[in-house]
Amino acid sequence: MSSMHSALAVLTPRMTRAVKPFESPSLMHLLSPKWLSAKARPLGKTENKAGRLVLFFIVGAVFWVFVFGLLYRLLKYFRGIPEIGALLAAKLLGLMFISLFGILILSYVVTALSSFFLAKDLDLLVAAPVDWLRLYGAKLLETTGHSSWMVVLVATPVLTAYGIVYGGGLLYPIVAIAAVVPFLFIPAAIGSSITLLLVNIFPARRTRDILSVIAVLTAAGLVLIFRLIRPERLARPEGFRSLVEFISLLRGPTSPWLPSEWAAQGIMTWLRDEPELLSFYLLWSTAAALVVFGALLHRWLYTRGFTKAQESGERFVRNGRLGKAVGRLLTPWGVMRRELVLKEMRLFFRDTTQWSQLILLTVLVVVYVFNIKFLPLRGEGITFFLANVIPFVNLVLAGFVLASIAARFIFPGISLEGRTLWLLRSSPLEMEELLWSKFWVGTIPLLGLAVGLVFATDVLLQVSGFMMTVSIFTITMMTFAIAGLALGFGALFPKFNTENAAQIPTSFGGLVLMMASVVLIGLVIVLEARPVYQYVGARLLHADPDPWAMLFGFGGAVLLSLAATFIPIRIAVRRMGELER
């Protein structure tokens, strides 16, 4: 009998103990796993943490000094111009805030989708007795943190430069923070509410539909904003009928109803010694109202949306025509290579977290082409020389666009293979084969885009045949080199355990890749600048260009690009061979 009693005592809780009233876990508790994980591995679980940390701070410091220096010089120059200078500075700040606002909303929508609906910790949190408000708060803070740290990184040196040039005083940092914090939360509340509504309309795993709608809307919105602002007009005051008209344009707010304008106004009025509380009041009250609104919406729709998010959007898939065609095309290259390439393609097009980043690509390309289209190249004072140099600068910009695309699409390739490395490592597959298949799958579309982009912008710029040839040749080499770097750094700085592919490009390795790409683009351009400069000059004077300078410049650029293509891949092959997973 006594043994029966003790067995029952084990199986049932002791009722004699005082039962505490239940309390939902706090917001801090809900966020603690994120905080603890971040603390445990600031730069990923890899060896040589200290070295990487130092490198991270050096890269960060160099970036900050660069941005700060640039802004400082520009603002000093503005300060020297009476009357218009301060207005131009305010306009510039407004433009920065409005661009950040657009980027933030887009980024919050994408991040909120994964943090509110697809993250792996949700099963645990939703199953646990966590009240809706705390879940909303925790996920909103998580989304804000993930999406805005880059923006904060960029905004800090910019705002510091403003504060120093315009003598913001000791209280300026507090003023800047008071403007930036609500500015970050407003788009967060808007973005996560948009996601919540969209998930309730479509299942979350069918984000393909949702995100393509967003892509089109964003691209259209950006074009609209650019057309409304017409930034090129600011660069050419002579285009205005009078100085008064120009000043009145500068004085007028770009968009008085946007939080970006309030943030810029709040900071600028403080810097002009005419502090105005209205902007801060608008910022904080709007942020609070939107967060409350978002919370209510969350209470109303989240459970339904979360349930819908568990439904698998697409179960049946058919092998598309493209897959079959590529399969047939690759058959002579061997079964293994064909299957690797087909797998890469299928995974890419079926993984929304991967291809949804095409939105960012669309935005980049739209902004870029529009900037080129409205460059004031045909007016007075534009020399033949300048008209030939600008397409060369175009190459640098196209290179940056390429680097950011490679960081988004090629760089994460190795990291995404993390959980299936057991299969690849235990099969008779050479790591070289895997890396080259990833290289070609990434490079061919990138090359098409790069050549198309440079060709289109060169046509818009009406460049000479020589410049067109140089541009196409250079961008082709750069594409190979940047793809090689992306793959190499992807293998050197893998993030195998990430939940969200969209977070891989913003990791430490992604940052290092961007830096390396900038250096590569800079070097190629420096090598080619001299022969191009000489050629354009010689043409102007009807002389012959120096063949040695051409050979040295272009030959050097080719060698550099080849080295940047092959060396990182070789390093990556070795690194992959050493990986133990």
């Binding site: 003790s6 005592a9 084990v10 795993r205 698998s312 697409e314 179960r315 049946f316 898939v317 058919r318 092998n319 061997g334 079964v335 293994m336 064909r338 299957e339 690797l340 087909l342 797998k343 299928r346 995974l347 079926r350 993984d351 959980r419 299936t420 490395l421 057991w422 299969l423 690849l424 490592r425 235990s426 099969s427 008779p428 597959l429 050479e430 050493e578 133990e580 997973r581």
Partner: protein, 251 residues
């Protein structure tokens, strides 16, 4: 055949696998038992070529894995304990992809894939994305993928986890038939009943070292006292020191 000679694996100062010597001949189903953290998975992952040994050699079907990794791996099928696979491929595509990794394609592979999926009741799911599969279905798909290229040696880590009774039975029959045809299987398991009924020989590993190896009769003799495999296992690994459950639950 699998041959391990002085196989050792260190993680920093910790020795996960300590000088293991083992030969698993053709036509044998070999079981690998041991408490959690004993070094079973590390050993199997070294045999699969995923982890590199600190020292020692591994031969698969007579081929040195370190000297000729691709040739050796071509003889091997590996079934891991954590079934992570490409979520965005369908079951059929996944099998085709794995066959492709071993340089195989064509009608025979398609036929084999269909047969394997039918064997595990996955036929209806063949054209659905893996992300919609349950844990057990993923496990069945991975098991199918290990057989798709007709390997000579199969290394399998915890094969029964997540399988329904019917699939578990099918797998046992499949393993038995496979070794009857002269192939080799090395598997780790915590299900002692499976090891007892299925394996020709068993090794018990603890703290990275093999404590005992042999048939169930050999192990019984070594454990002095007989009994079932559970008794033998607990005796050999000294895991009987269970705490007083009452104290733990009341703590």
């Amino acid at each position: 055949m699998i041959e391990l000679r002085n196989l050792k694996k260190n993680y920093g100062s910790f020795t996960a696998v300590d000088s293991i010597n083992l030969t698993v001949p053709d036509g044998e189903l070999f079981g690998f038992l041991g408490p959690n953290g004993a070094g079973k998975t590390t050993t199997l992952r070294m045999i699969a070529g995923i982890l590199q040994p600190t020292s020692g050699t591994i031969h698969l079907a007579g081929i040195d894995l370190a000297e000729n990794p691709l040739k050796a791996k071509a003889k091997l099928g590996f079934i891991p304990d954590r079934p992570f696979i490409y979520e965005k491929l369908t079951g059929a595509e996944f099998l085709r992809f794995v066959a492709g990794l071993y340089g195989q394609d064509g009608d025979k592979v398609e036929h084999r894939g269909r047969e394997l999926m039918a064997l595990f009741d996955l036929e209806e799911w063949a054209d659905e994305l893996v992300e919609s599969y349950s844990h057990g279905m993923r496990q069945k798909l991975i098991i199918s993928s290990a057989f798709i290229h007709r390997p000579e040696v199969i290394v399998v880590d915890e094969p029964m986890v997540g399988l329904d009774p019917k699939a578990a039975r099918i797998l046992k029959d499949l393993f038995r038939e496979y070794v009857r045809r002269g192939h080799t299987i090395m598997m780790s398991t915590h299900t002692l009943e499976v090891a007892e009924t299925l394996c020709d020989r068993i090794a018990i590993i603890q703290h990275g070292k093999i404590r005992a190896v042999g048939t169930i009769q050999d192990l019984r003799a070594e454990a002095t006292g007989g009994g079932g495999l559970e008794e033998i296992f607990l005796k050999l690994t000294g895991e009987r020191a269970a705490r007083e459950t009452m104290d733990v639950l009341d703590a």
